[in-house]
Amino acid sequence: MSAAYILAKDHLKSFVRKISKGSRLIAPVTNEYGDTLYSEINCLDSTQIDTQHQPQSSIKHFFLPQQESILSYSVSQAGEYHFSNILIGVPTVFFGVRSCDLAGLLYMDVIFSNPAKDPYYFKKRENSIIISLGCNEPFENCFCNATKSGPFLDFGFDLRFTDLGDRFLVEPGRKRGMEILEEFAYFFNDASEQDLKDQYQLQLESRSSFQQNVHVDLAIKKLANEEVGKDVWQDLADRCQDCGGCAYVCPTCTCFTITDQPVSESEGERVRSWDACTFAGFTRMVGGHNPVSSEHSLRRRFLHKLKYDVSLHNRTSCTGCGRCVGICFGGVDIIKFISAVCES
């Protein structure tokens, strides 16, 4: 059995319809305001899947929601507490996941397995099917070539789609992908040698057309050897306006906080919500002392991505998606940071 198949573009919609029967379908959709978002599609006939634009946020919030109830509690009149875990995992097909976002998901798999498996994350993760889409043309701020997480990530997906113009090349990855291909074999033809050559050509072209030239490897080396000037960190601290946006849009930033919130006098919920390591309250101790200065918390965030994770997992946890680029209130972003490090 060959490892690659062809799906005619005409049949994409019916294929997606078939595999998402009984499941929730999430795919990139460009809405009436021109924003492309990974969206829940209820009706494939009235909604167009967008395979041309980069979704503006990653798929992180489907696995680690911005705010999620993880436990509910109630107190009986006798004063007895009753707790119940809230584990939600709706079977979901994710179609059109970009390599950077897949890389982010694979990173979260690691984070949420160590030291113990996070049940809330894995309940969702185990109920998901990931169909990725290679990027024929890198988007404006992308640099996944430099972080080795794209534009055609070769692992981690259930199925991978490559847009060959009038047809998709479809490759299985994980076991579930193989099963889908077998179950819906009638949609597919075996890929020819020419199809594979076309894909190879596309990948070459894509790799050579990045608009951003980011020297991630050099920055990693300089950060590892602590060859970075103090002014680089000071500039970051001076410019940070504390919005948390870079962490919130990042596919691999997974800091969260947990609070108990009463719902009524006798009931309440434990809520997990997004947090950011750059917030002062993230490290402030009871009594008001903060062992970590704002300069240090910013430094730590960037070192986490480009130094600590490299030494732990042998790869950076920046996936080169470019989402934090151009959105900073203080005019910094990871690309500017990396070039400042390289020049330092």
Partner: protein
């Protein structure tokens, strides 16, 4: 998860924000990339725009002061009591005995209605909001 594009309510910049809802609860806020003000990012207040919506401290029922204490009441009673009181005071002391404060946090349509109510029903121009504060 549904996305509803709306306008942020936490300052005069007016960012385009998507509210994320799941099962009737707002569980997230995210910026619009194309919106001319938000352009892909929000300030910390904007990113936490949804936090207060389901606060247990939200008022969920009308209250009426009885024997000095605010107690729950139904809508009809609260509206009746208010309409009767305002009508009586207008009759006894004239329209200018009533003052109305509108809100820079409410919508244009609500502000319009409240000033219309003040001018056409109460028949006074005693309406202001805290523009200067």
């Amino acid at each position: 998860m549904q996305y509803t594009l709306t306008t942020c309510a936490h300052c005069g910049c007016g960012c385009g924000v998507y509210l994320h809802t799941e099962n009737g609860r707002v569980v997230g806020s995210a910026p619009s990339k194309n919106h001319p003000v938000s352009r892909g990012n929000l300030c910390v207040k904007g990113w936490h725009l949804h936090d207060f919506i389901h606060s247990p401290h939200r008022l969920t029922t009308p209250l009426i002061r009885k024997n000095g204490v605010l107690v729950p009441a139904d809508w009809e009673e609260a509206l009746d009591f208010t309409a009767t009181s305002l009508t009586r005071i207008k009759k006894d002391h004239g329209p200018d005995a009533i003052g109305v404060v509108s809100s820079a946090k409410c919508t244009n349509e609500e502000n319009f209605l409240l000033q219309k109510f003040t001018r056409a029903v109460l028949q006074t121009n005693n309406i202001d909001h805290c523009a200067r504060l």
